[in-house]
C-alpha cells in the first residue's frame, strides 16, 4: 500500500532504482537464509547421496547412483512407498471431507458457534506425541474403544468384519495403518476446518442470495455454489494435505517404533529415512531417500497444480 501511494508521487527515475535496491536489501537476509539452509541443504544432500559417506570423515568412495538403486530395489522401501501412498490416498480425501463438513457446520449461525469451532480445532493444538500416545491407549486390546463397542453391542458387527473383541488395532499388521489414518483424520480435520472456514467467508453473500431467489435448496446451494467457489481453498488444503501425508512420521514412529512394527505395517518413507540415518548410520543412503522423497512430493504438487488449474495468486 505504501509502495502504491509512493508511486503516485512524481520523482526522478533513479529514485525507483534506489527503491528497488532497498527492496532487494530487505529480502536479502531471509533469501540468503533460505538459500543456505534450504536449497543449500538439498544440494548438499544430493552431493552426499552419490558417495559412500562416513559421518565423521566425509566421502569414502564415489558410488554414483548405487544408493538410489539399492533403495528402489529394497522390498522394505517399496513397502514404505506403498504405505505412504496408501495413507495419502485414503487420508487426504477423508480429512478434507471431514474438514469441509465441520467448516460448513460451524459456519452456520448457531448457538455456541465459537465453542464448536474451538472444540473441533482442539486436537490440532495437542502435540502429536501426546495425542498418539493417548490414541494407543484408546485403541489397545483392552482399551476404551474395544470396551465401548462391546458395551453398546457392536461386537457382532465387528466379528462379521473379522475382528475379535480384543482386537489389537495398532499392534496388528492388518489394521495398524488404518488406525493411524483415523487418528490423523481426527486431529487434522480441525486445521482443515480452519482453512475452509477462511475460504468460505471469502465467498460473496450476493451469490447465496441469488441462489436463494432462484429457489436453490441447501444441498443444491452447497453442490452448485459453495463447493465450486471453494476451488482456491481446495487447492490449498489438498496441497498442504498431500505434502503432510507424504511426510508421515511421528505417529508412525510412536505407534510402531523405528522399525515400523508390526511387520513394516507402519513403515513410511520418512521413517525409513530416519531408520537408515540414525539406526544404521548410513547417511548417504538416507540422503538418497530424502532426494527420492523430494522428487515424489514435488511431482505430487505439480500434478495437483494441473488438476486444480492455475494456483490462486496469494
Amino acid at each position: 500500500m505504501t509502495a502504491a501511494s509512493l508511486a503516485r508521487r512524481p520523482r526522478a527515475p533513479n529514485k525507483g532504482r534506489a527503491e528497488a535496491l532497498a527492496g532487494y536489501l530487505f529480502i536479502a537476509v531471509p533469501m540468503a537464509l533460505f538459500l543456505v539452509l534450504n536449497v543449500g541443504s538439498i544440494v548438499y544432500a544430493l552431493f552426499i547421496s552419490v558417495w559412500k559417506w562416513n559421518l565423521r570423515s566425509g566421502p569414502v568412495e564415489f558410488t554414483g547412483l548405487r544408493n538410489y538403486g539399492t533403495a528402489l530395489s529394497d522390498p522394505i522401501f517399496q513397502t514404505a512407498i506403498r504405505n505412504t501412498l496408501y495413507y495419502a490416498v485414503v487420508w487426504v480425501p477423508l480429512t478434507m471431507a471431514l474438514g469441509l463438513f465441520l467448516a460448513v457446520i460451524v459456519n452456520q449461525k448457531i448457538h455456541g458457534q465459537t465453542f464448536f469451532r474451538a472444540a473441533f480445532y482442539f486436537p490440532a493444538i495437542a502435540s502429536s506425541a501426546a495425542i498418539t500416545t493417548l490414541w494407543i491407549f484408546i485403541m489397545a486390546p483392552d482399551g476404551i474403544f474395544n470396551q465401548v463397542r462391546g458395551m453398546v453391542g457392536l461386537n457382532p458387527l465387528f466379528s462379521l468384519l473379522g475382528f475379535t473383541a480384543n482386537q489389537n488395532w495398532i499392534g496388528d499388521q492388518g489394521t495398524a495403518m488404518n488406525t493411524i489414518i483415523l487418528l490423523n483424520a481426527w486431529t487434522t480435520s480441525g486445521t482443515f476446518m480452519l482453512f475452509y472456514l477462511a475460504s468460505l467467508q471469502s465467498i460473496s453473500h450476493e451469490v447465496y442470495e441469488a441462489a436463494a431467489i432462484d429457489g436453490a435448496g441447501a444441498w443444491q446451494t452447497f453442490r452448485r455454489i459453495t463447493f465450486p467457489l471453494l476451488k482456491p481453498g481446495h487447492y490449498f488444503v489438498a496441497t498442504v494435505a498431500v505434502i503432510g501425508a507424504l511426510q508421515l512420521f511421528d505417529q508412525a514412529l510412536i505407534g510402531g517404533g523405528v522399525d515400523g512394527a508390526p511387520n513394516n505395517a507402519l513403515m513410511t518413507m520418512v521413517l525409513y529415512l530416519y531408520n537408515a540415518a540414525f539406526k544404521q548410520f548410513n547417511f548417504s543412503y538416507a540422503a538418497a531417500i530424502g532426494i527420492i522423497l523430494f522428487v515424489v512430493i514435488f511431482t505430487a504438487t505439480l500434478v495437483q497444480r494441473r488438476l486444480f488449474g492455475q494456483a490462486p495468486a496469494w
Binding site: N14, V29, G40, G58, P141, D142, K279, F281
Partner: protein, 442 residues
C-alpha cells in the same frame, strides 16, 4: 546519490556474506572436515606418543594427569543419576586433578550423538550401547584403547567375556569397556507359580497348567523378536552364526527346531506378545497380572517397585533347553573415548576408574545394573541375574549390521504369528538373507 551508494554497498556486503556462508556450509564442507579430521588424526597420533615420551619408563601414570574431561550419556531414571553421582564423587576424591564435567544427553541418544561425530565436537568419554557399537567402531567414531591398556597395565581379565567382547572392532582393537551389564532371566508371579521350572519342557508343562487361570491373558509374555528369542535359540542348541562368526547358522536343524518351538508357544496360546495383552512391555504385563511368567532383566525391579508394588514376583535362571547347559543373553553399554576427543588422557583416567573395580562397585551399588566384572560384589537382590553373567552370550551388537538382522527376524516372525500360519521357515529364510547381507558388508 550517497544513500543509493550506501544501500548498494550494504546489499553487496550481504550478498558476499551469504555466498561465503553457503560456500562453507554446502559444497566444500567436505574439504574443511577432511582437513579437520586429518588434523585430529595427527593430534591423536601425537598425544599418546608424547604421553609415552614423557612417562615412557613408568608407563601411564593416572595420578599425574590433570585437566577437564566431558562425560556424556543418557539417563533413564533419577536412581541412575544418583548412582553415577556417587561414582563420580569417589572418582574426584581419588583423582582430584581431573575435573569431570558431566553432560547428560536428553532425547534419542544416537540421534543427538550423530551430529557431534559429524562436527568433530564430541564428549571425551561417553556411553555406547552394544546395539550400535559395531557401527560406531566401523565408522571410526571411537578411539582405540590398546595403547592405554598396555601403558597403564589395565587388568582386562576380570571382565565377563560376554560383555567385553562386544567392544572389540573387526581390527581386533578394543574400543571401550563395559560400564555394566544386564542379563535376561525368568521373572514369575509367586502367587501363581510356586516353584520355578528348571527346564524348558517343565516350563511348557507349567504354562499348560496355568492356561485359562483367572485374569491371565496368557501364561507367558514373549517378545516376537531376537531381543529375547535369541536366548531360547541358544538354549535349544541353535545359533545365529557359526562358531567363528563368519557364516550364518540359522538354517541348521537345531536352529530351525528352536525357532519353531518358540513360535509354537504363540500357536498354543501359552505365550502372547505384550502388545496383544494391551501392555507396553512384558514387565507391564506381569504387573497387570496379564501374564505369570516373563523374561526380562534387572530393569524390571525398579519399575515393579514403583508401579506395581503389590505384585509379588521372584527371579529364576532361564530354564535350560535341549542344549543341556545353562545359557542366556546379556546386554551392555560401554564407556568409550571419542576419536575426536581433545582430552583423551583425562578420559582414560576416568574410564579406567569407572570400569575398574572401585568405580563399578560404587555404580552398581545403586541397583541400576549388574557388574560387568567378576571382582565386583553382587548388588543386593541381584543374585540370579548376576550369576547369569557367567554364562550369558551377547544379546546384541556382536556383528556389524545387527539392527537389520534383528528387524528381518522380527518382521517375518510377526507376520507368521499375526497371519496365524506359524511356520518358522520364512523366518529362517528372511533372517539368513539379512545375516548374509550383513556379513558381506551391507
Amino acid at each position: 546519490m550517497r544513500r543509493q551508494l550506501l544501500a548498494a554497498l550494504a546489499a553487496l556486503t550481504i550478498v558476499v556474506t551469504a555466498c561465503g556462508g553457503s560456500a562453507t556450509s554446502s559444497p566444500s564442507q567436505a574439504a574443511p572436515s577432511a582437513a579437520a579430521s586429518a588434523a585430529s588424526a595427527s593430534a591423536s597420533a601425537a598425544a599418546p606418543a608424547s604421553a609415552a615420551a614423557s612417562a615412557s619408563p613408568a608407563g601411564f601414570d593416572a595420578n599425574a594427569i590433570s585437566g577437564p574431561v566431558v562425560l556424556s550419556g543418557w539417563q533413564s531414571s533419577p536412581a541412575e543419576g544418583n548412582a553415577l553421582t556417587q561414582a563420580l564423587l569417589s572418582f574426584q576424591a581419588t583423582y582430584p586433578n581431573v575435573k569431570v564435567d558431566y553432560q547428560p544427553v536428553a532425547g534419542d541418544y544416537p540421534t543427538v550423538m550423530a551430529p557431534k561425530f559429524a562436527s568433530h565436537d564430541v564428549p571425551d568419554l561417553f556411553y555406547v550401547n552394544a546395539d550400535y557399537a559395531q557401527e560406531w567402531i566401523a565408522g571410526g567414531f571411537l578411539a582405540p584403547l590398546d595403547d592405554y591398556i598396555a601403558k597403564s597395565a589395565f587388568d582386562t581379565s576380570q571382565f565377563f567375556p560376554g560383555y567385553a567382547s562386544i567392544f572389540k572392532g573387526a581390527d581386533g582393537k578394543t574400543y571401550g569397556f563395559p560400564k555394566d551389564g544386564n542379563t535376561i532371566a525368568m521373572a514369575y508371579n509367586t502367587a501363581l507359580v510356586t516353584s520355578a521350572p528348571k527346564t524348558l519342557d517343565a516350563l511348557v508343562t507349567l504354562a499348560q497348567s496355568l492356561k485359562g487361570k483367572s485374569g491371565l491373558k496368557a501364561p507367558i509374555c514373549l517378545n516376537p523378536g531376537l531381543d529375547r528369542g535369541l536366548a531360547f535359540l541358544y538354549a535349544q542348541g541353535g545359533s545365529l552364526l557359526t562358531a567363528d562368526g563368519k557364516a550364518s547358522a540359522i538354517d541348521t536343524a537345531p536352529s530351525k527346531a528352536a525357532i519353531q518351538w518358540y513360535m509354537d508357544l504363540f500357536k498354543s496360546g501359552l505365550g502372547m506378545t505384550a502388545s496383544d495383552m494391551g501392555a507396553g512391555w512384558c514387565g507391564d504385563a506381569l504387573g497387570k497380572k496379564s501374564a505369570a511368567i516373563i523374561f526380562e532383566g534387572g530393569w524390571l525391579d525398579p519399575s515393579m517397585t514403583s508401579t506395581y508394588p503389590d505384585v509379588k514376583y521372584a527371579w529364576a535362571q532361564l530354564p535350560t533347553g535341549s542344549s543341556g547347559s545353562p545359557v542366556t543373553i546379556s546386554f551392555t553399554v560401554s564407556y568409550s573415548i571419542g576419536a575426536d576427543s581433545k582430552n583423551k588422557d583425562q578420559a582414560w583416567v576416568l574410564l579406567q576408574y569407572l570400569t575398574g573395580k572401585d568405580g563399578m562397585t560404587k555404580w552398581t551399588q545403586g541397583g541400576v545394573a549388574l557388574p560387568a566384572r567378576k571382582d565386583v560384589p553382587t548388588p543386593a537382590g541381584k543374585d540370579v541375574l548376576a550369576a547369569s553373567s557367567a554364562f550369558a552370550k551377547p544379546g546384541s551388537g556382536f556383528m556389524v549390521g545387527w539392527p537389520a538382522v534383528q528387524k528381518a527376524f522380527q518382521d517375518a516372525f510377526t507376520a507368521q504369528i499375526q497371519g496365524k500360519t506359524f511356520n518358522a521357515d520364512p523366518v529362517i529364510t528372511a533372517t539368513k538373507a539379512a545375516i548374509d547381507k550383513a556379513l558381506a558388508g551391507g
